[in-house]
Subunit: 255 residues, 4 copies
């Protein structure tokens, strides 16, 4: 069970809501994924312009927890202002801090990310923070009191999977709050791997919305995350260079 702030969730898949082919496919992908938490960029979802169509209106919001993120903010102040607007609109008191520091790689800015997390915690938000896989930065965030650290596997939308499993392992081992692997997951094997490393959850968007068949990929990801979690709990065999026969031959039928 995943615990974020004072909420608990059965699903360990957080699903982003950006860039699906259309609302029908998106709705079905969300359903099949069995995700309970949906993330969206506050600045993108027309949440402040009720006259515009909006995917969130199509959902039965009693069934989902919304996790708005601050994407588009370049500074802590911008991020805080966006989060406050969301809170005032009654959207959510849980927020994902996302402050991009490089337009090309979309990698996060550690300084503004730390500042925004601290400011939002002081305002009483449940704060989940997207960060690089810098191990000590993740520890610093946890020391601030964030409710989850969300290290990226690789750049947003890159589909490159887990570039540095060692750093993720270090972060997972040191963290007492949930670790959610966020960004870069490209296919089910990547999601399974994140969970096998001991992550508490995975956040996906492009890997599903950009697949040729987003609904089928949503199901694949759901299963992969379950598989990875079970694999983590089951305790995998160690790797070894030299083979070990699965069918030992000692004392058997003479040749």
């Amino acid at each position: 069970m995943l615990k974020l702030g004072d909420r608990t969730f059965q699903s360990r898949l957080l699903l982003g809501t950006g860039k699906y082919p259309n609302f029908e496919i998106q709705k079905e992908a969300v359903r099949v994924s069995e995700a309970e938490i949906l993330t969206f960029a506050l600045r993108r979802m027309n949440v402040f312009e009720p006259s515009q169509p909006n995917f969130l209106e199509m959902l039965d919001l009693s069934k989902y927890t919304l996790l708005p993120n601050t994407a588009g903010a370049k500074t802590a102040e911008e991020a805080v202002r966006t989060a406050q607007l969301a809170k005032a609109s009654g959207l959510c008191d849980m927020v994902k801090v996302e402050i991009i520091g490089c337009d090309r790689s979309l990698l996060p800015d550690p300084v503004e990310t730390l500042r925004a997390s601290e400011m939002l915690l002081k305002e009483g938000f449940t704060v989940l923070t997207y960060t690089s896989d810098d191990v000590v930065l993740a520890r610093r965030l946890e020391e601030l009191g964030v409710h989850a650290v969300m290290p990226g596997a690789s750049p947003i939308g890159s589909g490159k999977g887990i570039l540095n499993p060692l750093n993720l392992k270090f972060i997972i081992e040191q963290s007492k709050v949930p670790v959610i692997i966020d960004a870069g997951i490209g296919s089910p094997k990547d999601a399974a791997y994140a969970m096998e490393l001991g992550a508490d959850a995975v956040l996906l968007n492009t890997a599903v919305s950009g697949a040729k068949d987003p609904v089928k990929m949503a199901e694949a990801m759901k299963l992969a995350i379950e598989a990875g979690r079970l694999g983590y709990e089951a305790g995998r065999i160690e790797e070894r260079d030299y083979a070990v026969a699965s069918s030992p031959m000692e004392g058997l039928l003479p040749t």
Copy 2:
């Protein structure tokens, strides 16, 4: 649906029967895995010594297809003799050719493997052949008429996963018969990856039997194989070095 010779199967997981902690755990792992095909070494299973206890006797054999292998044979002739004994015992007319050419790495012998496959095909067996990931060797086996090629991901029991995905991709692309990734799978991510590459099935043994909790790992592998297959069918996003925002910011809320 997996088609091997004239049989069809829902499950894409072939499960080995070696080295479980005990028969009870093994039975439960087999059940949870939903495998329909069980492999075993003819020379190990006491199949020729009915007085000895035998895991296969504990199973409802009407529910499983047995895939005996020729492990322990060093030459084609030995492999053929083993298969003939199995056939005479009424065990199965489907056989997995497995001829190890190196006791240290347990990697297969291409020459004896080709010869044994050819001889067994002539005797009317349904032949599934364990082979290295040598691409042209796999093609040669297919030209002989084998019913499936079974390239190894890495050495038997090593748990190192897929060492050369490019070779497996080449084999899968060129093959008209099923390709079953066999040997070396260590964790669910590896099984998912094999399926994402387009494999028709995965054969596992040590990754399940050697896990701390074999039953839980059996379930993890079942899910991972389903996830990988769905991911393959769904069509994953391409990898790219430079990020693409999942939440584009153009024309939105001014900062």
Copy 3:
């Protein structure tokens, strides 16, 4: 030519001075490496205790540039105090900021690293900063005015080589100051790879001092760094999945 502050160097290898079997081997390794910059931990070298034996005393210091580092400092203030002592002793006005934030992984602390770099720049030091491979953090350091950024390839002393070449590539592409790959290099291939990615230099210690034959490894590393630099300048072929014959066969001898 490598330019750091107002000094220039022919060699692109910076060599650490820790943990050699003895002074004779160390001296010979330094000679063979052709390194012009030697790094050492101020706190370790007895530099403040002239009564103790000291490797630096064995060197002809007119031939080397010393790059003291602040290893052992946990805060910016400690790092600055250490650097000031070194300056007062006339050792060097160039300093490598190294502030470890995790005793287990020896990975750097981004917050104290930024602070220390800023403080030392204000005091007029030539500042080279050891950092994680966080891309935006490296940019932040450059914006402060550091004279080189020194991202780690993997944890200090791990010998794991380059865990995340994509991040290093991003850092190299964005940086106008020299990028020195620091920490984690295990063997010549890793050093060559760092240089092929476009790094300006490599800093090594354990890979040489901990090798079975440190002198021979020092020579290997010198050559690998030259090889990697030349390879970078020469412009490597692109990777492709499908082969291209190096010996095209069109219109040749009929078979």
Copy 4:
């Protein structure tokens, strides 16, 4: 020193002669590489058509050993015929067996490769055989009596480097004859890696001839191979997940 048949060589780089921009660049690249062995496809080099221009005529052949290969042959018989023609022309009694079994991947055919090697050995040739990285196949070739096994790192011309270092390690450990890594090397780090694994030599072509600056890349490869060899001899540090300080801090300056 590299020993092939009854010849010895200082250089561990074998250089191919295909697809250079022009003869002048090629000649300079050969010179700079310090290669002593040059490979070429018999069918391509107009060696049987003395009226045509030919790179080999530009060389001082007293300084080089020519290693003709049988590329273009699809069967053992074709390969043997090609080699016999070369011998009759007085070109060389050393031959590289190269029989491609897949036009798309240019990977070798194990069956024809074994047959051709055996036939050419019987005719008294010094036989160096290009093969996949199939471990038992390499052993089989050695048992036939070949003078060197030449496993591919990845497909010819792909530049993908070493896809399966474990298989190469196994081949190197088991072989009493020289192991020359052939095909797929893309950059100096790959060549260094091959040598660090313990290979006796590396054969390159496209990585040099296809580089933007082939002459500079030739020098890079020469240095990388020396670096890798020295690194192998020097005995690298082991990889470890957890860091070890290169500058231990015990009992030093109090903070």
